[in-house]
Structures are given as structure tokens and as C-alpha cells.
């Protein structure tokens, strides 16, 4: 058993007019909660659909729990639970009926897990699925994923449309039932604040390409904003500089690494370092994704540095 839950090699999906996923190399460590981040249309859902065998890759390959697609397709479906953004279940069936229906498909189904989970979750099991609130629909899907004994849980936009209480309950459920028990959770989202709490690995995708994949704590420790003031500050072509925005004699640099050394270099060129501060995930995301956009007249001052 390798320590990777999902790995993709140059995975791609091309549609006639768009390269939805363009040479993706993901490595999702086993046991992690992996946050798959991107804007709308970045390629998140297409990637997930390929992983679950719902659409055929145009190029590249992938492994899920050391299983190869398409050869091991059924085994993948046994061991992976997928909760899509639009939950397509039989609308008129109740939770209890859905549980009984799903039960027969999975060899590792656990009634014990189902019962303990039902007790704690407080989901109405006798109402038709379509009558449930969105929060309860999501909970029911996660309940079935837990009952299925899935080793890997893939959730697309888990908290979209949920109120804050339901969101909070969902995060608790993910942590209690899935994380820390060796199971892997792969969730796509653009709700950065919630991901910042639960995820320990982050992958950022934009225009079908992976911009960054790293342990979240490492990202937090290495990314820094360096604010410097002085004359003739370099609008650097340094590969460590992700962005440099100048106002008057002050300049905000965002660095992916080695901010201390960079600050020392600026100092030796006569600049004053006003501040070196950490960035949160949302700021890092904005800087990384914006960098990929061409320079428009509106942000000429914000000349992006050349990427590494």
C-alpha cells in the first residue's frame, strides 16, 4: 500500500473549445484532508468526474488507492465515496430506503457504523430525500459514505448553500468520522476560510493546471508579505517574488520563500523594511491565481513578477 491516495500523471480533459484539465499531476497523501482549490471553471469538478470514471480522460492516467482506471473501475467505486455538488439520488426515497438500497452494492457496508452515525447526526430518515434541507441532504450523503466504509471520500463543494450552523456541523462530521482514522478526504471548494481550518494539504488549480500543491502549514510558514520603503526599489524579476505592488515610495512584495534573505538583500540596497507578515490562504490564493492573468491597464502598477 503506497502512502498516496490519489495520484494523477499528466491528466487532461479537452473539450472542443476548452482545455478543462491540462496536464494535472496531483499527489494526495493518504490520511490527509486535501483541499482542492480553484475558481469556478478552473477544472475541479472535471478532475473529480474523471477520478470517479464519469468522464474519460483525453490524456494521462491516474491511480486511486493504488487502483488503476479503467481496469479497476469497480474496485474504485467500492472503496471510494463520492458526494457531488448536485446530489443525484432518488428524490422520492426516504433516507431509510436509500440506506437499504445502497447497502447491497457495497461489500464493506457496516450497519454498525450506520447506526452510530445516525444516532449522532440526528437526520430525519423517514422523509423523502427531496424534502430534506440541503444540510440534511449533505449529512445523509456523508452518512452513506461512512456506512460504505469508504477509504477515500471525495466531496465537491461540500458546504455550498449551507447555513453557518449546518457548515459547522458538516466540518465536525468530517473530522469525527473521516479524518484521523487513516481515511483520506479530498474536497473541492472555493470557501477558503473553512478549508484553512480542516485541510492539511492544499492544491490550487487554475485553468486546468496545478499552481501549487503543498502542506498547508508549510505554505503558511514560507509565504510572506514584505513591505519595504525606499528609493529605487527593485520591481524584481526574482523567482521568489510572486507579486510586487508599489505605492509611492513603498512596495509590497509577496514571496513564496526565503523572505528573510530577500529582506536582507533589500536592506543592503538601502531600503527600509517596514513589515514582514504572514498571509492567509485567501491572500495567497488571490496572488497566485491573479498572477496567471495577463496584465490589464487597470493593474499596470501591479506588475506581476516572472514566475519561476
Amino acid at each position: 500500500m503506497s502512502d498516496v491516495a490519489i495520484s494523477t500523471e499528466a491528466l487532461a480533459k479537452f473539450y472542443p473549445r476548452i482545455r478543462a484539465v491540462d496536464g494535472l499531476n496531483l499527489r494526495v497523501p493518504r490520511g490527509s484532508i486535501y483541499g482542492f482549490l480553484g475558481r469556478n471553471g478552473a477544472g475541479k469538478t472535471t478532475t473529480i468526474r474523471m477520478l470517479m470514471g464519469l468522464t474519460r480522460p483525453s490524456a494521462g492516467s491516474f491511480q486511486v488507492l493504488d487502483l488503476r482506471w479503467p481496469h479497476d473501475r469497480l474496485a474504485i467505486l467500492q472503496r471510494v465515496a463520492y458526494v457531488s455538488e448536485r446530489k443525484l439520488l432518488f428524490d422520492s426515497m426516504t433516507g431509510r430506503e436509500l440506506l437499504r438500497f445502497n447497502r447491497v452494492f457495497f461489500s464493506s457496508w457496516s450497519d454498525h457504523a450506520t447506526n452510530t452515525c445516525v444516532k449522532r447526526l440526528d437526520i430525519p430518515l423517514d422523509q423523502p430525500f427531496k424534502k430534506l434541507s440541503r444540510g440534511n441532504q449533505t449529512k445523509l450523503c456523508l452518512l452513506m459514505a461512512a456506512a460504505q466504509g469508504a477509504e477515500l471520500l471525495i466531496i465537491d463543494e461540500p458546504t455550498s448553500g449551507l447555513d453557518p450552523i449546518a457548515q459547522d456541523e458538516l466540518l465536525k462530521l468530517l473530522i469525527d468520522e473521516f479524518a484521523g482514522s487513516g481515511r483520506t478526504v479530498f474536497l473541492s471548494s472555493h470557501h477558503l476560510a473553512e478549508l484553512e481550518r480542516v485541510a492539511d494539504w492544499i492544491g490550487i488549480i487554475d485553468q486546468g493546471k496545478l499552481l501549487l500543491e503543498a502542506r498547508l502549514d508549510d505554505i503558511r510558514s514560507s509565504y510572506r508579505r514584505v513591505t519595504a520603503s525606499g528609493n529605487a526599489l527593485p520591481v524584481s524579476k526574482d523567482s521568489r517574488v510572486i507579486s510586487a505592488v508599489q505605492f509611492g515610495s513603498t512596495c509590497d512584495y509577496v514571496l513564496s520563500d526565503q523572505s528573510d534573505r530577500f529582506a536582507d538583500e533589500l536592506r543592503s540596497q538601502g531600503a527600509t523594511i517596514v513589515d514582514v507578515s504572514p498571509l492567509n490562504l485567501s491572500e495567497i490564493f488571490l496572488h497566485l491565481v491573479r498572477k496567471e492573468e495577463p496584465c490589464t491597464p487597470g493593474n499596470v502598477g501591479a506588475t506581476p513578477a516572472v514566475s519561476s
Binding site: 469525527d176 481550518r197 485567501s282
Partner: protein, 130 residues
């Protein structure tokens, strides 16, 4: 609750947990032999990844702040004040922080006595007499 984390501060969550627990021990809110919440319980309460809590606990154990006992009746406990640690070693551990305070202070153009007073106030808050 014992620990609060701020996920958007940019400071790694495991460091936030470590420093808050160290603070709790230093200020006497946690006494030696006190039991810390199990990794999964704390993770669940804070809605954060259990791996993050585990990492903080591991680092605290490495630093001698907590110790873990395996098996039933086990768990993570606040360790006895490390008697074996030489004073020079304690000072060596603290020095980088002192350097940080000094550098940041000078950077902000604070005077030496103003910086020292800050440290003194922090000590007084912990009930340490000068």
C-alpha cells in the same frame, strides 16, 4: 476552552496550539500531571484537522512540555518541569525569541528601555517577580 485558533492569521495552526498550551503551562492554568484533551477530541472541538493537533502535541513532547503514556489510562499529560535541563540549554532555547524581540523592536524604532519594559510586563502578567 483551553485553545483557540485563528485560521486566517497566516500563523500555522499547530504553532498557535503549541504557543497557547505553553502559555497555559507557564501561567499555571495547566499544572503538571493535568491531562490534555485527546487529539481527536480537540480537533473536533476546534474543527481542525487531527493531524494538526497531533503535530502540535508531538512538538510539545519533543520540547518536554508534555509527555504521553500509551495504552488504557494513557493520554497526553503536562510534564514535570524538566529538572534535567541545564540552565545553559534553557537559555539556548530562548535566545532566538529574544533576538526576534530585539530585532523587531529596533526595526520599529523603539528604545531599549521600552522593549525591556514590554518583556517585564509580560513576566508580571505571569506573576513572576522581577
Amino acid at each position: 476552552m483551553l485553545v483557540h485558533v485563528n485560521s486566517s492569521s497566516g500563523v500555522p495552526l499547530y504553532l498557535q496550539i503549541e504557543s497557547q498550551l505553553k502559555h497555559a503551562v507557564a501561567s499555571g492554568a495547566l499544572k503538571q500531571g493535568d491531562v490534555l484533551p485527546p487529539v481527536r477530541k480537540l480537533a473536533s472541538e476546534l474543527r481542525i484537522n487531527p493531524n494538526t493537533v497531533a503535530r502540535a502535541y508531538q512538538n510539545l513532547e519533543r520540547d518536554g512540555v508534555v509527555r504521553t503514556a500509551p495504552g488504557a489510562g494513557g493520554g497526553t499529560f503536562v510534564a514535570d518541569i524538566v529538572p534535567g535541563l541545564l540552565k545553559s540549554e534553557k537559555l539556548r532555547r530562548l535566545k532566538p525569541l529574544a533576538v526576534n524581540v530585539a530585532v523587531e523592536g529596533v526595526q520599529l524604532r523603539l528604545k531599549a528601555d521600552e522593549i525591556l519594559r514590554l518583556v517585564q510586563e509580560a513576566l508580571e502578567e505571569l506573576g513572576e517577580k522581577p
